[in-house]
Structures are given as structure tokens and as C-alpha cells.
Symmetry: C2
Subunit: 374 residues, 2 copies
């Protein structure tokens, strides 16, 4: 079994190191790196047993491959496959994980491995954060949006009936391992939604990455060759830098990641959660934000249209149907980041350059929101 | 309303500053300091609304006094009084707190204030740790054991059917405020159980404090004059120093606080939780640990008897009835701190001086445990 990559290979697959008050950790991105899960985990110095909790869609082959990799690394591994989705991202499902950990007598030195999409990472991460006051967690995200976004930064979350992600904890992983091969079975729509977050990283912070996403769209979407892997790695690095600079989202860095999210969240809420995927709503939200920046004279219409073309080339929507301007604007006001006062808008100043503004006039917002409605 | 203490008074009431990766916080101990709750909270720089969650036994007068103090500090204050005890220290009760916070739209900048005994601090602290990925919490412990022990150090905990405190998080408070006046209504048995933890601090780390507890037992137990307040403050300072040195209990400091706890936990478990109060079981456990140290030649019988006399002078039990040696020894093996291998015993080397040992022969343990059974 070829589990020993060369030192060069490791360097190439290492997308980022995230530095936090809870310690530093590596984010590894590459094809077939799941086979290195055990050897990479060993490098963290963690001992104990591995408790692999996976979305049932990983069952049986992807899950078995991960388990075997852990066992090759010398970890006694136990597996729990669960149906995990937005509909059961709640404390009842977390309790299923708790019960299993209790039955297995999981201890403080043991390791929880979360394998699946964003919901799996959020929910299993929460269980690890709260089991015995926090045990080590390894994130193995298998969707593109989880890879470039939610698996990095330690945010975990669970819904209650009264609201999404109202429960959670900051619980940084000890390792994030992203196997590009897992994306090959991802539905096209989810893949596109993931590209929205990756393109967003280019738009707000890296003009070169944006160029690449623009130039190589068909190749990216088909996951052909090394360019898509390199682009995901770069996107991961951007997210990692931001998290390292602003771990708890109380500075001026992490908020930039919310580009497109104010209107995006409103679209998800008003259309009913599940109508649009999160990344789709963010794509439309980014068009609204670009519209605001254009109206404020921060960017020209050329950049707005360029953003639209890039998003469209990844099969992302840039307008929404059948939603009311008033309902959307009302929904932005109840967004949890804005309740205490004015909304802090993330707006572009140019390609690869974002800033925040609080002084956006209501009629500018209304105009820009109107412009993204069919 | 006289809420302004002099600068001298503040210095006197400040028992300790705890330094952690989540920030530093003050522990204030004094009579009637609950009236300063709002002004002390203000000094932390926290803004937002205050969500005061209290054990229903605080209702109405103690609770109203705390609420008024918060309001005098300028905090919009909302109050939830709950029946909180070991029997409902579970996720269902935490969910009651979540629902209330959701209904009140509690935000990240808001503050949860936990007022009650140890169970209240554990459970409300857990709710605060997991609400919106953690909001500020202030601990206002009202039992002696919560004051000298559980309110300091950021441990929170909730039971599931399969085990006690299996859920939890390290979530450091922003302020701990302890009003000695709250102890006046505490039942005598709970008061004694609290003294067990305070005396323990003297035994393991401070010979002078131990002397004081020995010399002034009647005065302490009656909470007469300033000596008991000073002794509680010193006990709080010891706990705070240890937490600052070993926040996550992975060093060699925090474990010393477990003096008497290995057998203490076994006694609680074998006798059925609730038969002995935690502090009572720890008192008996400390006698077993002293017996081990004596048999290993680490201390002489004089110190063992001195420890017994001190504990008895606080109306604490030093022997247990109707428990089997085998059952107790079996229970120590399933203690969560020992499952992975040998038990790490905390043992005295002299008055005010503790250390840890792993090499305790089984027959020494058996003998010492036998000696604490009637």
C-alpha cells in the first residue's frame, strides 16, 4: 500500500497552516490524499482511537477507504454513518453522536473525524466541541463549499426550531484533509455552489485568482488537470489567512468573507431555505453588492458585468425569481450580524479588493436589490 | 443607592485574577457585593443586554437584588428563574434556556449571568458557551462549593443518561462575583460540603490556610466576622492560580485539585448519586488518599489524624457505610481520568504539599479503602 508520499508531494499538497489560539493546523488538498489520512494524523502527534462520523452517502467505499487509511496510521478506528442534512442538523442528531461516543467510551485523548459536506462538518464538529469539554476533531470535507469555506476556521453549528446555526462553538480542527477525488461524485449544482465561494475569495482578495477562474472556467468545472486543484488550494489559503488574522470574527478581516452574504441570506430566507443552495444565493447576493458598489461609485459597470460573466460561466444564477424587494430588505434587517444597528456591507473597490461600509443609503440598497430580481 | 465602593474596598474584595487563553477575569469575594454586579460588569467593558438565568431558589428577593444591581450598571436585564438540580442537569433544561434566548433574540454582544449553585453554573455556562458560538458569561455562585471550586476555571458540564458531565466546554467567564451573604441561607450540609473543597486547597497547597481552618473552625462554620471571608478569598486565589497555570488540565497543576476525588467519585457512584454530596464524598476520599500516602511512607499518621480532625470539625464524614471495597476499587477504574491506563493518584507529602503518583500497589489502595469503611 503506497502511503508514503515524498517530501515534495507533501509540500505541494499543503495548502495552508492556520494559526489560532487553540493551536495551529495544516490544511492538505490533493487528489487521493484520503489515503494519507492516518499518516497525516500521526504527524499531528495525536494518539488515541479514531471515531469516524460520516455522512451516509460516503458509505461504503469512500468510508472504508478513509477507515483503512486511519488503520494504516495505527489508529483503532470506529465508524458511524449517519444521514446528515439541513433537515436534521439539530440537537437530536447530535445526541445520536453523543450516545455512540458514550457507548464506545470515547475519551479525552480520542479523535473525532468528520467526513462529509458542510452540514456534517458543522454538526460533528459541534459534537466534538462539546464531548468531554472538547476532543480533537479532524475535518475531511467532501463538498467543494465545505473545502474552500466551512471546514476551515473552527466554526461549528446546529439549528434549533427558532433559527439556523443558533447553537455552535469555535472548535478548531487539528487537521483538515481535502481529497479532490471526493468531488467527482458531487452533484453539478452543489459543485457550482462551491465555486461561488471560491470565486468570492478571488473577488475580495486576489485579482490573479479571479483571472484564473475567469480564464479557465470549463477546465475548473470539469476538474481537469492540476489547475482546479491549485485554484482550490489558493482559495483555501485565502480563507486560512483570514481565519488566522481574525479567529473570532471581531476584527476587520473575517467579515470580508461575507461578501454577497447579506442579500444572500435574505434570499435563502425569503425564498424558503432549500430553494436556493447557499452558494447560489451568495452568487446573486454578490451581484446585489456589486450593484451597490457601482451606485456608490466605488467600481465601474465593467467589473459588475465581469463578475456576472464569471459567475455565469460556473452555472451560477445572477438573478432571482419571484421575490419581493420589500421582503428581501426586511430580511436583511433581521440578519444576526446587523440586528444591533446599521448593516455593515462588504463591497468591492476593485477586482480582488473589498472593504466594508455602513453608510449605504436605503434607496441605493433598494435599487441594487431591484436590479437582481427578474 | 450606595454602589460606589472605595478603591480600597475593591482591592480587598478582589480575590484573584485568572489568566487564560480566553482572556483574564477577576474573582470578587465579599459581603453584599451582589449590589456591585452592574458596576463590576461595566468595568469589564462588556456592553449589550444582560440575561440573568437563576436557580429558582433565588426567587424573588436575591434575584431582584441582582437584577437591580445590573440595571443600576446600565444593563437592560431580562430574568429567567428555573428549577435547576442534578436531576435535570441535561440537554432538555439547556434547551429551555436556548428557547428563551431565541425568543429574546439574544445576540453575540449580550451577556449571560448564571446565578445559583454549581449545577446552575455548569448548565448555564454550557448554554452560554454554545449560544451563537459562545457569548459572555458572568458567574454568580451562591453555594460555597461553587464559590471555592466550580465557578472558577471555565469548566461547564451537562449530563446525559449514559454519564455525568459527558457534555461540556471550556468557557471562561468574564467575571466571577461571590457574595458571602448568599451563604446565609445555604443548608448546613451543603455548607459543610463546600468547606471540604476549601480545606482541600489548604491541604494540597497552603499550610497556613490549613492552620487557619483548623484553628477557626467554629467561627468559619458560623461565617462570623472577616476570617471566613478571607479564608474563602484565599481558597479562591489558590484555585485561580492553578487554573491560570494549567487551563486545560493537561499539565501537572490542575490535577492536584483532584485530591480525594478518585475515591470520592467512586463513593458517589457506588452509593448512588445523591446519597453523599460531592464534598462529603471528597472528604472521605481524602481520608483514603491520606491512608495511601501513610502506607507509602509519604506522610506520618499524625497528619492523617490531623486531616480527620479538621474535616470532622466542619461536620464532614470521614468514613463511609455499607459500601464494598471491591465495588469501590472497580469504580475507580472506570473513572474518566484513568480509563486509559493506571490511576494517577494525588497524594500528600506534608501539610500544604501534594504530588501525584502512578505506582501505587493495588494492595495499598485496597488497605486504604478498607480503612475508610465502617
Amino acid at each position: 500500500m503506497p502511503v508514503d508520499n515524498s517530501a515534495n508531494n507533501y509540500d505541494q499538497n499543503l495548502a495552508a497552516v492556520v494559526n489560532t489560539t487553540q493551536g495551529s493546523y495544516r490544511v492538505i488538498v490533493g487528489r487521493d490524499v484520503v489515503d494519507d489520512l492516518g499518516s497525516e494524523l500521526k504527524k499531528t502527534g495525536l494518539e488515541g482511537r479514531a471515531f469516524l462520523v460520516a455522512d451516509v452517502v460516503m458509505f461504503p467505499s469512500a468510508l472504508r477507504r478513509a477507515q483503512e487509511a486511519l488503520e494504516r496510521g495505527g489508529y483503532e478506528t470506529h465508524v458511524l454513518a449517519l444521514e446528515i442534512g439541513e433537515a436534521n442538523k439539530n440537537l437530536e442528531t447530535v445526541q445520536v453522536v453523543y450516545e455512540w461516543l458514550a457507548d464506545m467510551r470515547a475519551e479525552r485523548r480520542d479523535i473525532v473525524v468528520a467526513m462529509g459536506g458542510g452540514v456534517t462538518g458543522d454538526l460533528v464538529g459541534f459534537a466534538a466541541a462539546t464531548w468531554l469539554r472538547g476532543v480533537a476533531v479532524v475535518q475531511v470535507p467532501t463538498s467543494l463549499s465545505a473545502m474552500v469555506d466551512s471546514s476551515i476556521g473552527g466554526k461549528t453549528g446546529v439549528n434549533i426550531a427558532k433559527g439556523k446555526n443558533l447553537l455552535g462553538a469555535f472548535h478548531q480542527p487539528k487537521l483538515v484533509l481535502q481529497d479532490i477525488a471526493h468531488l467527482e461524485s458531487l452533484p453539478a449544482r452543489e459543485m457550482a455552489a462551491g465555486w461561488a465561494e471560491a470565486v468570492k475569495h478571488g473577488l475580495i482578495l486576489d485579482a490573479k485568482l479571479l483571472d484564473k477562474f475567469e480564464r479557465l472556467a470549463p477546465q475548473m468545472a470539469a476538474l481537469e488537470g492540476e489547475e482546479p486543484v491549485a485554484a482550490i488550494r489558493r482559495s483555501v489559503a485565502i480563507k486560512s489567512e483570514i481565519v488566522s488574522a481574525d479567529e473570532f470574527e471581531n476584527g476587520n478581516h473575517r467579515i470580508l468573507l461575507n461578501y454577497g452574504h447579506t442579500i444572500g441570506h435574505a434570499i435563502e430566507k425569503v425564498s424558503g431555505y432549500g430553494t436556493y443552495l447557499h452558494g447560489e444565493a451568495v452568487a446573486i447576493g454578490m451581484m446585489a453588492a456589486a450593484g451597490i458598489a457601482e451606485r456608490l461609485g466605488m467600481i465601474d459597470s465593467e467589473l459588475v458585468e465581469r463578475q456576472r460573466r464569471v459567475l455565469q460561466s460556473y452555472n451560477l444564477p445572477t438573478t432571482a425569481n419571484d421575490l419581493s424587494v420589500n421582503a428581501l430588505i426586511e430580511a436583511t434587517k433581521s440578519d444576526k450580524k446587523s440586528r444591533s444597528g446599521t448593516i455593515r456591507w462588504v463591497l468591492l473597490e476593485g477586482p480582488g479588493k473589498a472593504t466594508t461600509r455602513r453608510d449605504v443609503p436605503n434607496d441605493v440598497v433598494r435599487d441594487a436589490v431591484q436590479s437582481i430580481l427578474d
